[in-house]
């Protein structure tokens, strides 16, 4: 028992494997690899069903229903372009948060400029990332609500089923990312994140950027390509 206690790793000790790499970082990359295949299955389902819906509404075409109702193309490109921009900028905020945590042990200038103080504030960049993630979710909630009001639900047709499943799964990932970011922000407020915690932020950042690259693919394949 005494031996086990003596060999117990300290709280922030790196967990190196035989590769010389921290196993938590290997795990997040393996997880991201598996997530690639999850999203590939959802994207391919959408693409396989694309153009096969017999009922309205449809993503890019004007559609006349059996009862004579005319449906306009349902995808709102200007709104989705804005949400895409917000998510891309959240990735910038995320890398700045990581850089701020990694550089905390570097000596500060005697009279730091406003720019230096902004760039070195991990709390600010973590909060900005979470805020932009929440904004993206707000855009998605607006989009989903307007689609339902226009007559498109997950039960309506093949487009509705595959679209809501794909974008809903992505939105769930963004929600998890926002909660993760808020947890890191709470830790930063409580005890302060130090360079020893950089790996924790790095792992969260990798997840967040992955959510971003998935949206890059979704935006082009689902929204822009007709």
């Amino acid at each position: 028992m005494a031996s086990a206690v003596a060999h117990a790793p300290p709280e922030h000790a790196p967990h190196y494997t035989s590769t010389g790499l921290d196993h938590r970082k290997i795990a997040i990359w393996a997880f991201i690899g598996s997530e690639c295949m999850l999203f590939a299955s959802l994207i391919s389902t959408y693409l396989v069903y694309k153009g096969r819906s017999v009922s309205c509404p449809r993503p890019h075409e004007v559609c006349t229903a059996a009862d004579g109702r005319v449906f306009q193309p349902i995808l709102n490109i200007p709104v989705t372009s804005q949400s895409t921009f917000v998510l891309l900028m959240s990735s910038l905020a995320m890398v700045l948060a990581l850089a701020a945590v990694e550089n905390k042990d570097k000596p500060r200038p005697a009279n730091p400029t406003l720019g230096y103080r902004i760039l070195s504030s991990s709390k600010l960049w973590l909060a900005m990332t979470a805020l932009m993630g929440a904004t993206f979710l707000g855009y998605q909630a607006y989009e989903f609500t307007s689609f339902v009001h226009e007559g498109l639900t997950i039960h309506t047709n093949l487009f509705g089923s595959s679209f809501f499943t794909l974008t809903g799964t992505h939105g769930t990932h963004v929600t998890v990312g926002v909660l993760w970011l808020l947890t890191l922000l709470a830790i930063d407020f409580k005890r302060g994140l130090t360079p020893k915690d950089a790996l924790l932020v790095d792992i969260c950042a990798l997840y967040w950027h992955f959510v971003d690259v998935v949206w890059i693919a979704i935006f082009t394949l689902i929204y822009l390509i007709r």
């Binding site: 010389g20 295949m37 693409l47 153009g51 819906s53 017999v54 093949l158």
Partner: protein
């Protein structure tokens, strides 16, 4: 920790500067603006180049984020393998399914 481990651990902490991050963000924004602009050019949408150009721009954005924001350009090759391996399988799956099911009739 062995010397090899120490060397590897040092290697993985090499990251771009914030100025590089700023340029990456600018390029991502410009490419996105370009994509959306192309969507609103009817002659280009009708041309055979529309889909390949959009796919190329999207792939460029994807690679930029993965290389710079996810640090894969600077990180250990094992991480690159863990990401690109499943990514190749995933993209092959999409292409294979599209070849299998393309040109079918409306079903639902």
């Amino acid at each position: 920790m062995s010397d090899h481990a120490a060397a590897s651990a040092d290697h993985v902490h090499e990251h771009p500067t914030w100025k590089q991050y700023k340029w990456v963000a600018l390029w991502l924004t410009l490419i996105t603006v370009g994509e959306v602009w192309l969507y609103y050019v009817p002659p280009f949408v009708a041309s055979p180049y529309f889909v390949p150009v959009l796919l190329f721009l999207s792939a460029t954005k994807f690679l930029i984020v993965v290389a710079f924001y996810m640090h894969l350009k600077y990180d250990h090759k094992l991480f690159r393998a863990l990401f690109t391996g499943p990514l190749v399988i995933a993209m092959s799956t999409i292409v294979a399914l599209l070849f299998l099911f393309v040109n079918r009739h409306a079903v639902g």
